[in-house]
Subunit: 230 residues, 2 copies
């Protein structure tokens, strides 16, 4: 029986965009586990699996339900130890938390100032109202104000990727010689921007651009199956 | 036979300060390997082990000589696999490279603007001349200009540690339930500042402060054996 993967969508069900959901899609594919997407819009998240979580991703594997992208990766690693590892050992599992913390505090923060209005604009009207209210309350300002420095945020985004750029001098993936969940953590952030926004964030001669393209090719082009916003 | 550890010093041989050398000291202690420090000042680095490297740390283990802190950790892990692991598996070894890249590009860059003149001031005159010339050539400005924004750099330093701060919400060490080389990478940067500079970089209610104190306690208080500059 396939794993049920509750994934976030806007008005177009063919363009899932949540960074945390993309991490899970890649993790499931990495483990070679078949899954069925259940499309969920913002205002229906609390109906998922009896309201287990205020946010998606959520997965159901038989009778087991797990929320939170990192906990889902932990669950998959523990439950399917004979399939390709997502962490490459306990040290990698711990350090993936650092990379998640870096991605959240550095990339996501910067991307919020770039894509927040773009997200709003791809939602159905009911979700737009929810999204605007909840995000404006969280950030303490209007969506339009959040993205006021958008052009500067786009111009400055590349420098935030310096730790990844330097890592790629030593090895082809964050996971070393092959990709691990840590790669999908950072991929999720950039895929979010790729699917939801026309902002050009990476130059083509950037090793991070090449790494991202290789991520898009993984698992039969799973990430590339949703075209970039043009 | 003890491992010979070529470590950088200034005028006071009891106050080794190099961040990369501190990583190696902690790694050797982590593996439980006895070592003898060979004190080296800046202008004598090219005399170490026949000029194998332009920088220390360098270690000699019997007939084997290894330079570069990360390559030394790799060597110790490979050569002493039955002693406590420095990486916790291949994934951790790869991701420690990311943490090194983050530390170098974020922490070291910021610390350079804080401690560069402090380093100069603890060196012997001959080393001072070398240090000033080489660093000013590398940075394209005078030492005094490099630290012109020192107070602002000190005030802004704490925010750069956010990825570590968030990680410590999930686990006590970057390595997870116990410290790994990744912890020593970041420890090295903060120990550098602690030994060489009176700048106060961390507030006592910061989880990173607590983590750093726990690092200082490790391996019979190896890091604490050099008092903070007061």
């Amino acid at each position: 029986m396939s794993i049920i993967f509750h994934d976030l969508i806007g008005a177009d069900p063919a363009r899932p965009f949540s960074p945390h959901c993309w991490k899970v899609a890649m993790a499931l594919a990495h483990k070679g586990l078949p899954f069925e997407r259940n499309n969920v819009c913002f205002t229906k998240v609390l109906e998922v699996e009896g309201g287990i979580s205020k946010i998606v991703p959520v997965v159901r594997d038989g009778t087991k339900v797990v929320a939170d992208s990192f906990l889902i990766a932990d669950y998959l690693e523990q439950t399917y130890p004979d399939r390709p590892s997502l962490f490459g050992g306990e040290g990698g599992q711990a350090m993936a938390r650092f990379i998640e913390s870096w991605s959240n505090s550095t990339l996501h923060t910067a991307l919020a100032g770039i894509v927040m209005k773009d997200i709003h604009d791809v939602l159905e009207p009911e979700d737009q109202a929810y999204f605007r209210q909840s995000r404006e309350a969280r950030m303490g300002k209007k969506l339009e104000q959040i993205v006021e420095g958008r052009e500067a945020a786009i111009a400055g985004f590349s420098t935030k990727l310096m730790p990844l750029r330097l890592t790629l001098k030593a090895q082809p993936w964050i996971g070393g010689s092959s990709p691990l969940f840590a790669d999908y953590i950072v991929f999720g952030a950039l895929q979010w921007a790729r699917v939801i926004s026309s902002a050009k964030l990476l130059e083509e001669d950037d090793p991070v651009f090449d790494w991202f393209e290789r991520c898009l090719d993984l698992h039969d082009g799973l990430g590339r199956s949703v075209p970039a916003l043009s």
